[in-house]
């Protein structure tokens, strides 16, 4: 027979339980719109029945309020994170592709390449009608100057995009660091709370939110393991080990400790591409937080790195998978010993290449200030290179290595091994567009200038180049009178066309068309003040109105047999490149939208489980209010019973 006061106790547990439930409902309603909040519910269980040794068996002992727990399915979290990584990557790409697309735009509102070029061609048409007139020639030269201006501004815009992506990369790396440190703190707090047996619901929600943010930046793998008693592996201590790993398998956060990353700017002699801006960042792990000592390079070029970082890196360094690579065919036995040689103290290696884009100097984007070269997985630094082509069109590069820079000794063991500069990043990012701009200006200027140099001015003087490159440091210009890696000559069918089936050797410092980039593209300064230098005729003694050379120029622009950019005539530049830009931009947008939509639907699934519903909570409110009222009524009833029993029964 249970105690007469047992009922009061039971009612009391009911009161407690309802109270907890009402409070939880209040908390749920209060946090209905809080981001990342998971609804909580009170877990209750009927208390263990009291064996009362009566015929009717055990007596129910009320309710045990076990815990308040959040309702959350972590399976959807990892699905969300994985998708969020993709969404982050394409959001970044979309953002930068929109910018690039805007720069290349050419329509009725913005004058792009085709408009500017067509104006130049109209100027050429006027000049063809009246080559003797100073004003038509000056007008043409002015319009040609606009083409140069267009390319220079494009080069600057591309640099700006690269610069923006680079700075944003640093911001994102900093954000990773800050999230890592927050995660470590939260993990510690969760363990403190949960080791004492309760649930750290809000902290866990916060942690999920942090990983949500982190997953947009970079692909993460977050896992939680229960900490078990070492002596008794089956017993859980209540603590948790929480490990966050990045794509390269390195641990970013391990419960309450974390690692950080840092950005180190490349120096000028570490440039990967000729047109790269100075100070592009490489990312390193920091091994010691106190000293800041650098550890391994964080491989940002890992294709599975994911997230905004991947979008940024591909925008910044995307070269369409075209980086310098070849096979080492010879390694000099000794360093250059002649102190007067510009390669004094360096070792020459020869690398033979087979890729078409490396054989064609118009496409060359090797750094002109030195850089790093990986020989059979070992990094070296080079200072100078020379391009060599033999009669059969085979191409090798002589590269001078400075062994002191990384202290490694270069031996003949590298012969036959792979040599690589920069990374193959198979996306059409800034370096790709820069290379396309450079390639066009080189092809176009070379063909244009060759025709001019083969002709005569109206006064019968030998022609000079019109399209040249500005020096970076002084007021002089590159006139390309060094070795010619591609020559133009009049063919048998009177067509002015390119030939490159002859041996040639071009050093990076030679005054060759390699020196010409979209950034320094300009017209000959002497031509601005004296339009008479423009070669308009092919016969020195014919009259001033002989326009035969203008005809050849006109033909060159329209004829892909004379000057061919991507197989098309040079005037087709924008149609070639705009298809790249537009398709990339369209792809980025489509993928971003797709992943965002998928993200929304996964998030809705998460919300479907964890979200607070007003109607439910209102119902809970009534439900628990009723339960509370009932329990308190119970106490009141029992109180009346005790009153009856104690004061009125048998007294």
């Amino acid at each position: 027979m249970p105690s007469q006061f047992f009922g009061l106790n039971i009612a009391y547990t009911g009161l407690l339980n309802s109270n907890a439930a009402i409070n939880t409902t209040a908390n749920n309603i209060a946090n209905a719109e809080t981001e990342g909040y998971s609804r909580q519910q009170v877990n209750s269980q009927a208390s263990e029945a009291l064996r009362v040794w009566a015929t009717y068996g055990c007596a129910g002992a009320g309710v045990d309020t076990l815990s308040i727990e959040r309702i959350h399915d972590e399976f959807y979290d990892s699905k969300y994170w994985h998708n969020n990584t993709k969404a982050g990557e394409y959001a970044m790409k979309e953002y930068y592709m929109l910018q690039i697309e805007d720069y290349f735009k050419d329509d009725s509102t913005i004058e792009g390449f085709t408009t500017v070029f067509q104006k130049m061609m109209d100027g050429m048409a006027e000049m063809q009608k009246n080559p003797a007139s100073d004003s038509t020639r000056a007008q043409f030269i002015g319009l040609a100057g606009n083409i140069c201006e267009y390319f220079r501004s494009m080069a600057n815009s591309m640099e700006q995009v690269q610069k923006d992506a680079n700075s944003e990369l640093k911001l994102k790396i900093d954000e990773i660091n800050s999230i890592a440190s927050e995660l470590a703190t939260i993990n510690k707090q969760i363990n403190v709370i949960e080791l004492s047996g309760s649930k750290a619901n809000e902290l866990r929600d916060n942690r999920t939110l942090l990983i949500d943010r982190l997953s947009a930046i970079v692909e993460v793998d977050a896992r939680e393991y229960p900490i078990t008693d070492t002596n008794d592996p089956d017993r859980k201590t209540g603590g948790w080990q929480y490990i966050v790993k990045l794509s390269d398998g390195m641990t970013l956060v391990d419960t309450d400790s974390y690692n950080t990353l840092t950005c180190i700017a490349r120096t000028q002699d570490e440039k990967a591409n000729q047109s790269d801006i100075d100070g592009l960042y490489d990312v390193y792990w920091i091994t010691n937080l106190n000293t800041g000592a650098l550890g391994d390079k964080f491989n940002i070029y890992n294709p599975s790195i994911g997230g905004e970082i991947k979008g940024l890196v591909q925008t910044r360094d995307g070269n369409n998978g075209e980086n310098f690579h070849g096979t080492v065919t010879s390694v000099a036995g000794n360093r250059v010993s002649d102190p007067t040689d510009k390669h004094y103290g360096q070792k020459k290696i020869t690398v033979s290449v087979t890729a078409d884009f490396l054989k064609d100097m118009d496409k060359c984007k090797l750094s002109n200030t030195g850089g790093s070269i990986v020989l059979a997985n070992e990094e070296y630094y080079y200072t100078d290179w020379t391009y060599n082509r033999d009669d059969d069109g085979n191409v090798t590069y002589d590269i001078w290595i400075d062994e002191d820079k990384n202290g490694a000794v270069l031996t003949g063991l590298k012969i036959g091994k792979e040599a690589e500069m920069g990374k193959a990043v198979s996306y059409q990012g800034v370096p790709y567009y820069q290379q396309q701009l450079n390639e066009w200006v080189r092809i176009f200027s070379n063909a244009f200038n060759s025709i001019l140099k083969d002709g005569y001015t109206k006064d019968g003087q030998a022609g000079v180049a019109l399209f040249v490159g500005d020096h970076a440091v002084d007021e002089e210009q590159w006139l390309f009178d060094g070795p010619e890696y591609k020559k133009y000559a009049e063919g048998a069918d009177k067509l002015f066309g390119p030939t490159n089936d002859y041996a040639v050797s071009v050093n990076k410092d030679d005054d060759s068309y390699y020196m010409l980039t979209a950034k320094n593209f300009n017209i000959l300064s002497a031509m601005i003040s004296d339009s008479g230098l423009l070669a308009t005729k092919t016969d020195a003694a014919s009259g001033t109105d002989d326009y035969s050379n203008v005809l050849r120029l006109n033909d060159m622009v329209k004829n892909n047999k004379v000057a061919s950019y991507r197989g098309a005539a040079t005037q087709e530049f924008l149609t070639c490149i705009l298809s790249d830009v537009a398709l990339n931009s369209k792809n980025a947008r489509t993928f971003k939208q797709n992943y965002e939509n998928i993200g929304k639907s996964i998030n809705n699934q998460r919300i479907s489980i964890s979200g607070v519903d007003h109607d439910e909570e209102a119902m809970d409110l009534i439900k628990y209010q009723n339960a509370y009222t009932m329990a308190s009524k119970m106490i009141q009833t029992l109180s009346e019973i005790y009153n009856r029993l104690i004061l009125e029964t048998g007294v």
């Binding site: 209905a32 719109e33 592709m97 929109l98 697309e101 805007d102 290349f104 735009k105 050419d106 329509d107 009725s108 085709t114 408009t115 067509q118 061609m121 109209d122 048409a125 006027e126 063809q128 009608k129 009246n130 003797a132 019968g460 005729k537 003694a541 014919s542 009259g543 001033t544 109105d545 002989d546 326009y547 005037q571 924008l574 149609t575 705009l578 298809s579 830009v581 537009a582 398709l583 931009s585 369209k586 947008r589 929304k600 998030n603 809705n604 699934q605 919300i607 479907s608 489980i609 979200g611 607070v612 519903d613 007003h614 109607d615 439910e616 209102a618 119902m619 409110l621 009534i622």
Partner: protein
């Protein structure tokens, strides 16, 4: 699935946003009238737009700039050619007058003056210019067709002639009759003049393009040698002489003597008249030359004559428009003109304007088609011949006046009578020669007129062709613009309908969200 308020909120936001995106797109299309805002909206449209824009711009350049320019150039040319035709018609008229048998001394003088003026007028027309650019001079628009002032500038000229440029002239040997006067008539050699001294003969010659040739350098005559495969000198240098018109004996007598003596291939340059006299044997040899049709470039019939000329009259045509020549030969300032001519390449300096896609039209007419040297040289011959008649008539008058001073039977009277007989014979012969020359002059001038008319017609034909092209370009331009519009521009009705559809959907979405979001169970507690 459990639908919470948040799920409804999310879905509503996303749906309303989709509606807004569509509205934004349609709004942009409505306000810009363009299908796309950025290339990535539709890369195909964007790239096609670039191509079409280039096409429209090119056609516009042709239609609005090149064609009007070509039209004005052709117009100027045509005007000049028309006036050349009228000058040549006048010349024919003068020739017809000159060919008449009954001419007085005054008539002759009038014809002489008229011819001299007309000759200058023909070449002056050749100096026509279009906005400061000489129109008949090919690419050399900066130089006029003829010298505008007298100049001294040494040229070495190589004329490329054929046997049809060889001709024979009638030479009237009149001895010293022209120089008889009251004082010297009865002295030697004048007192020995008899009628038999005056005689007529035929002399072969080649007329060069210019008179007043330098007498310092012997002309070099070259013909093609099939064994040496090049043009080599036709005769030894010693067989070519330079003899002035005023020398005694004069060059015509010398060449006649060579002929009479069968002296072989001899040439004599008369620098004042620009005639290259030759013996009959040389003439016959040169006449046998002809072009072999088997060789395309080499002309075996060609006779190259190289000579120098330094003094230029203001009415001389500039040689660089016609011949392979060089100015200041042998000096550092030497400029070689038309060197290709000697290699058999005669590329006309035709100025062509692009007036359509892969379509060009020649706008200029070059001087060699109309303003030939032979016009002036033919007139020169006629003037010289007419002048000789006038001079002889004057001599006759003078002799008759002198004879009146003496009486019949005087020794002087008889001397003068003999001289008069000789002069009369010379006068008759010269008149006869002159009449024939003017008769043939009619034919020659008619030929020149035909050339001028042909060039005018040619010019007109090109103007007609240009008109056709212009019309076609007009329709091409419209065509491209239509394509451009089809490609880039929206159909306003279409978009307007879509927009009202989008608006309706948007309203509906807002209404349903508004209704749903307002209410919850809380409202009823």
């Amino acid at each position: 699935m459990r639908i919470t308020n948040k799920v409804i909120q999310n879905n509503s936001t996303s749906n309303i946003n989709i509606n807004k995106i569509l509205q934004d797109k349609l709004n942009n299309q409505m306000s810009t009238e363009k299908k796309i805002v950025r290339p990535s909206d539709d890369p195909v449209v964007a790239i096609r737009a670039l191509r079409l824009r280039t096409n429209v711009s090119q056609v516009t350049q042709f239609y609005e700039k090149n064609i009007p320019d070509a039209e004005s150039w052709l117009k100027i040319t045509e005007d000049a050619l028309t006036s050349v035709s009228s000058v040549l018609t006048d010349m024919i008229e003068q020739c017809t007058k000159g060919a008449s048998e009954k001419l007085t001394a005054t008539d002759r003088n009038t014809i002489l003056d008229a011819l001299t003026q007309l000759r200058d007028e023909v070449y002056a027309t050749g100096n026509a210019d279009y906005a400061g650019r000489s129109v008949f001079t090919g690419y050399r628009t900066e130089t006029t067709l003829k010298f505008t002032t007298g100049e001294t500038l040494k040229y070495s000229i190589t004329e490329q002639l054929h046997n049809d440029n060889l001709d024979s002239i009638t030479y009237v040997k009149k001895g010293v009759i022209d120089t008889i006067n009251e004082v010297n008539f009865n002295t030697a050699p004048y007192n020995a003049i008899v009628e038999q001294d005056v005689e007529e003969s035929t002399i072969c010659r080649m007329r060069l393009a210019y008179s007043s040739i330098d007498d310092t350098d012997k002309p070099v005559i070259k013909t093609y040698d099939s064994t040496a495969k090049s043009y080599v000198e036709f005769n030894a240098a010693a067989d070519t002489e330079i003899i002035s018109q005023n020398a005694d004996p004069n060059p015509y007598d010398v060449i006649k003597k060579y002929d009479d003596n069968n002296a072989g291939d001899k040439f004599i340059l008369v620098p004042e008249t620009g005639e290259l006299l030759m013996t009959k044997s040389a003439y016959e040899k040169l006449m046998k030359l002809k072009d072999e049709s088997s060789t395309a470039v080499i002309d075996e019939g060609e006779i190259q004559i190289e000579y120098k000329k330094s003094v230029w009259d203001k009415d001389d045509l500039r040689p660089e428009h016609y011949f392979a020549c060089s100015a200041n030969p042998g000096t550092a300032d030497e400029i070689k003109y038309n060197a290709d001519y000697l290699k058999g390449i005669h590329e006309k300096q035709s100025i062509e304007y692009d007036v359509g896609l892969n379509q060009s039209i020649r706008v200029n007419t070059t001087a060699d088609e109309v303003f030939k040297h032979s016009i002036g040289r033919d007139v020169d011959d006629m003037i010289a011949s007419m002048q000789a008649v006038i001079d002889m008539e004057a001599t006759l008058g003078k002799l008759e006046a002198m004879q009146k001073e003496y009486n019949s039977g005087d020794a002087e009277y008889d001397v003068i009578q003999k001289q008069l007989d000789a002069a009369n014979k010379a006068f008759t012969l010269l008149k006869e020669k002159n009449q024939k020359l003017f008769e043939s002059g009619i034919t020659k001038m008619q030929k020149h007129l035909d050339d001028a008319n042909y060039a005018t017609t040619n010019c007109g034909t090109r103007e007609n062709k240009l008109d056709l092209i212009k019309n076609r370009l007009m329709s091409q331009k419209t065509n491209f613009e239509t394509l451009q519009s089809d490609n880039e521009n929206i159909d306003l009705t279409d978009v307007a309908i879509q927009l009202s559809g989008a608006e309706l959907t948007y309203q509906a979405a807002l209404m349903s969200v508004g209704k749903i979001m307002q209410q919850s169970l809380m409202n009823y507690i």
